[in-house]
Amino acid sequence: MREALDPWQFVTAAYAIGAITTLAMVAGSWLSMRRAEKRRDKVREIQ
């Protein structure tokens, strides 16, 4: 017996996982970079 699978459920799941993971990686890397550069600038100001 052949299963009746809705292809859009699979397409939606793949794109949801892909979009969330990619955006999380971009945001995480950007925020980590900003935090590290702020810390470096603060350390430079210490006399």
């Binding site: 397409v11 793949a14 794109y15 993971t21 990686m25 890397s29 470096r40």
Partner: protein, 259 residues
């Protein structure tokens, strides 16, 4: 090439290149995905599920490109001891691992309706899973090494050697569908096929697919640049704090002698 190994020159370029790559990449990738999913044709055999290709292929390409860049940077780190090469290799590991994981997940989701199974232990899928484990190993090894060593020396050299040895897996992944029987289809894209329009894939699929590959490659580049800037800023802060601590120690030593 040696000129670009200067951290100050790199930072001058990366300051504007990082947001440019990220914004352009996000815009181009989003446009390509909307184009492919919303307006592209369905496949004659697979139907609508083929639309996963616009996400699956770029992630597979970047998973392999991630390790290729680690291997090239590791080679440069070992041979020329460029200060930025080791940083570039470490920065490429996380986005490479993320895109490899995404390739495996989207491929598994695609496999269920197309092949009738989530997973098979064939050459392509298994070698891609091995690549993900190689990324985990590389990140653990690179994270465990000291940050203040000269590039290409000491424990840092171990991560670079691991990066070079792991590159053996890249041609295995690429040729696995030709060497062994597999449920996975053989390569659909080739340079000659795209240029001459005689490849196995129709142009209506190829154009949004290549646009998506371009968008995701820009995102990858932006993330690598951001992570390189993060590693550089961390090491600069650590070096400055160490110098200050040593100066304070030397002053207190001089005071004690004077007393």
């Amino acid at each position: 090439m040696h000129g670009f190994a200067n951290p100050a020159r790199f930072l001058r370029i990366a300051t504007w290149a990082t947001p440019l790559c990220l914004i352009a990449g996000l815009l181009i990738a989003s446009a390509a995905l909307v184009w492919g999913v919303g307006f592209g044709p369905a496949d004659a055999l697979q139907g609508d599920v083929v639309r996963i290709i616009y996400l699956h292929v770029p992630t597979a390409w970047l998973g392999m490109m991630g390790w290729s860049s680690i291997a090239i940077a590791s080679f440069v780190e070992i041979v020329w001891r460029h200060p930025l090469a080791g940083i570039a290799a470490r920065a490429a590991a996380l986005p490479g691992a993320v895109f490899t994981a995404l390739c495996l997940i989207t491929g598994s989701i695609w496999g269920r309706p197309a092949w009738g199974t989530w997973w098979v232990w064939d050459g392509r899928l298994t070698s891609m899973l091995v690549l993900l484990f190689l990324y985990f190993g590389y990140m653990a090894l690179a994270g465990a090494t000291q940050h203040d060593e000269a590039p290409g020396q000491g424990q840092g050299r171990m991560a670079a050697i691991f990066g070079l040895i792991g590159a053996v897996n890249i041609p295995i992944i690429h040729y696995s569908v030709l060497w062994w029987n597999s449920l996975h289809q053989p390569p659909s894209l080739s340079v000659s096929g795209v240029v001459t329009g005689t490849g196995p894939m129709a142009t209506s699929f190829v154009v949004p697919l290549l646009t998506s590959v371009l968008g995701f490659t820009l995102i990858y580049t932006g993330v690598v640049l951001a992570r390189m800037r993060m590693i550089l800023a961390d090491s600069q802060a650590e070096a400055r704090l160490r110098r200050k601590a040593m100066a304070a120690q030397a002053r207190s030593g001089a005071l004690a002698e004077g007393w």
